[in-house]
């Protein structure tokens, strides 16, 4: 059994021979891996390794040139991020994907706003009360006590990232992608985030994309290393490899 195959049979995501070319450049070449329930998979590699391309494909931002994606055994094709969200895929982006002019609560529910129905569903208004209450409660769980009616631009990088992570978890995703989620975080906020992710992995498996091998080794159960669009190395956390040992493969 290849290490790219999950040790657990309960596979939730499978990529088979996914490739992506931009004109003459092959950004991904025959990438295959599986992700199972209850695990955090690390996707590591240098700039240009193909990590972002892979995540963009899995999020429906771009489409693969060839290859297949399976969610819970069923083949899926994502033409837009909305398709991926409908399949229960949520993502935390490096730049947090927040709208400066909107409030914390509005950013928390952006694109998935809860609705209050009036006149037998003829009139549908956004349920601001629920948005404010739920976002406030979820953020407080991570130790962030923010005024959720304030515009998000007033908050620090860590607070903004907390909003991005908590909103992804709020929607009970099938799979959570974390694209460099610790970039803007302090050590304290990072620890809180990792604790939260470890506690949440039983509910939804995750793929962590990171440059930081230390972070990946600390948090992930398995890791896949990409180099020039190919998987070059796969290992499990229980093997106990050090950062230096892993770096030799880069």
């Amino acid at each position: 059994m290849s290490l790219a195959e999950s040790p657990v049979s309960d596979v939730i995501l499978e990529c088979r021979n996914v490739s992506k070319s931009f004109d003459q450049i092959e950004a991904l070449k025959d990438v295959s891996f599986k992700l199972s329930r209850g695990e955090i998979l690390g996707l590591v590699g240098d700039n240009g390794a193909g990590k972002s391309t892979l995540i963009k494909i899995l999020r429906g931002v771009i489409q693969p040139t060839s290859g297949e994606i399976y969610i819970e055994g069923k083949q899926k094709k994502f033409n837009s991020p909305r398709d991926a969200i409908r399949e229960g895929i949520q993502c935390v982006y490096q730049e947090a994907a927040l709208v400066e002019q909107l409030s914390v609560a509005e950013n928390f529910f952006i694109g998935q706003e809860p609705i209050k129905r009036y006149a037998n569903g003829l009139i549908n208004f956004v349920d601001f009360e629920k948005m404010e209450k739920d976002s406030d409660e979820y953020l407080a769980r991570m130790g962030f006590h923010l005024n959720v009616t304030d515009e998000i631009r007033h908050f620090s990088g860590g607070e903004r990232q907390a909003v991005a992570v908590m909103r992804a978890l709020y929607f009970n995703p099938k799979i959570l992608f974390l694209d460099e989620p610790t970039t803007a975080l302090s050590e304290k906020a990072k620890k809180a985030l990792f604790d939260l992710l470890r506690a949440s992995k039983k509910l939804c498996p995750m793929i962590l994309v990171t440059h930081d091998l230390k972070d990946a080794i600390e948090l992930c159960d398995r890791m896949i290393m990409l180099k020039l669009g190919k998987i070059v190395f796969e290992f499990e956390a229980k093997e106990g490899l050090s950062v230096e040992e892993v770096l030799r493969h880069m």
């Binding site: 909305r82 709208v99 002019q101 952006i110 706003e113 549908n124």
Partner: protein, 328 residues
């Protein structure tokens, strides 16, 4: 609307500037003309404002989403001329055909901006010129008489309190736009699209579809404005929308809408329309050179934008800073 929302809408730099301008102009014109501060004149002001306000409301949606439409004046003329040329005919048919003509231009604007990727300013500049040509051709360069009795009643009839129905249309559209933008998913998506289109798209908002619909809304509003102007004049002619081009763009900007998107309040856009209409009305009443209307509008627009630029983000308006700027 809660007290907090009212405060957020009016007690910021844009709201204060507009209220100050409105009060200042009202005092100035009241002192210089005995006819200004009269019920009849205020009725005239609101009736004149209605066409501008309906155009500005359509444009407001697009500005919030970070796009612009400058073809609305031509679309207004197209709708008006189409209505006049369709008469005599069934009134519903006239309304539908005029609005469809307007919406078709909106669809063209939306297609070329959203699908082809041409910046909206250039797309709508092209359609503005093109539609103007169509209007000249179909009207044969002349005014066309509106031969329908019901249409002027619907869009400019004085069936309630002696005020033209266009004022009620205007109020209705303001309320509808306010509700859509503030309370519906679509409205929140408009703000998100204008604020950070990439983030909005990544979070699953169909930003292209949102923008396409906004071009349709803007054109449809211009279509309604065309029906009102034709009903008011009982005729339609090429060039009758030209005077609305600058004020309809200026009103939302005066109200705080940014050309880059993400910001804007329909209440302040309404206030912006009122200020601009008061200028036009006052200058007319005083019998001044019509060119002074443009000078007044230009001064108020540049003052509002300067004060906004001077204003540091996140702080209440600082008059000390403004005074300091002028002392330098």
């Amino acid at each position: 609307m809660s007290i907090k929302e009212i405060r957020q809408t009016f007690l910021n730099v844009n709201g204060i500037v507009l209220i100050a301008a409105l009060v200042g102009l009202t005092v100035l014109f009241s002192l210089t003309s005995p006819y200004f501060f009269t019920p009849i004149n205020w009725r005239v002001i609101f009736e004149s404002m209605s066409i501008l306000a309906i155009l500005a409301t359509g444009l407001h949606f697009l500005l919030v989403a970070g796009e612009i439409d400058i073809s609305f004046a031509s679309v207004l003329e197209l709708s008006a001329v189409t209505a006049a040329l369709s008469t005599p005919a069934n009134t519903l048919y006239i309304i539908l055909i005029s609005l469809l003509a307007a919406i078709a231009v909106g669809a063209v604007n939306g297609f070329f901006t959203v699908k082809v990727g041409i910046p909206s300013f250039l797309t709508t500049l092209s359609t503005m010129v093109g539609v103007q040509g169509i209007v000249f051709l179909i009207s044969n360069y002349r005014a066309v008489v509106l031969r329908n009795d019901l249409l002027p009643e619907i869009f400019y009839g004085r069936f309630f309190a002696g005020v033209a129905s266009s004022v009620y249309w205007m109020i209705g559209f303001f309320i509808l736009a306010g509700i859509i933008l503030r309370y519906t998913k679509f409205g929140r998506w408009v703000y998100a699209t204008g604020g950070n289109e990439k983030a909005a798209r990544l979070m699953g908002i169909p930003t292209k579809a949102v923008k396409f619909k906004l071009f349709i809304i803007s054109a449809a509003m211009a279509g309604v404005a065309g029906l009102i102007i034709a009903s008011r004049s009982l005729a339609a002619r090429p060039g009758m929308g030209e005077n609305y081009l600058m004020p309809a763009i200026a009103a939302p900007i005066l109200g705080g809408a940014l050309l880059t998107g993400g910001r804007g309040s329909i209440m302040r856009t309404a206030l912006g329309c009122l200020v601009l209409t008061v200028i036009i009305n006052g200058v007319n009443l005083l019998g001044l050179e019509p060119a002074l209307q443009n000078i007044f509008m230009g001064v108020i627009l540049v003052s509002a934008l300067s004060i906004r630029a001077l204003q540091k983000e996140d702080k209440a308006i600082s008059f000390k800073r403004i005074l300091k700027f002028f002392r330098r």
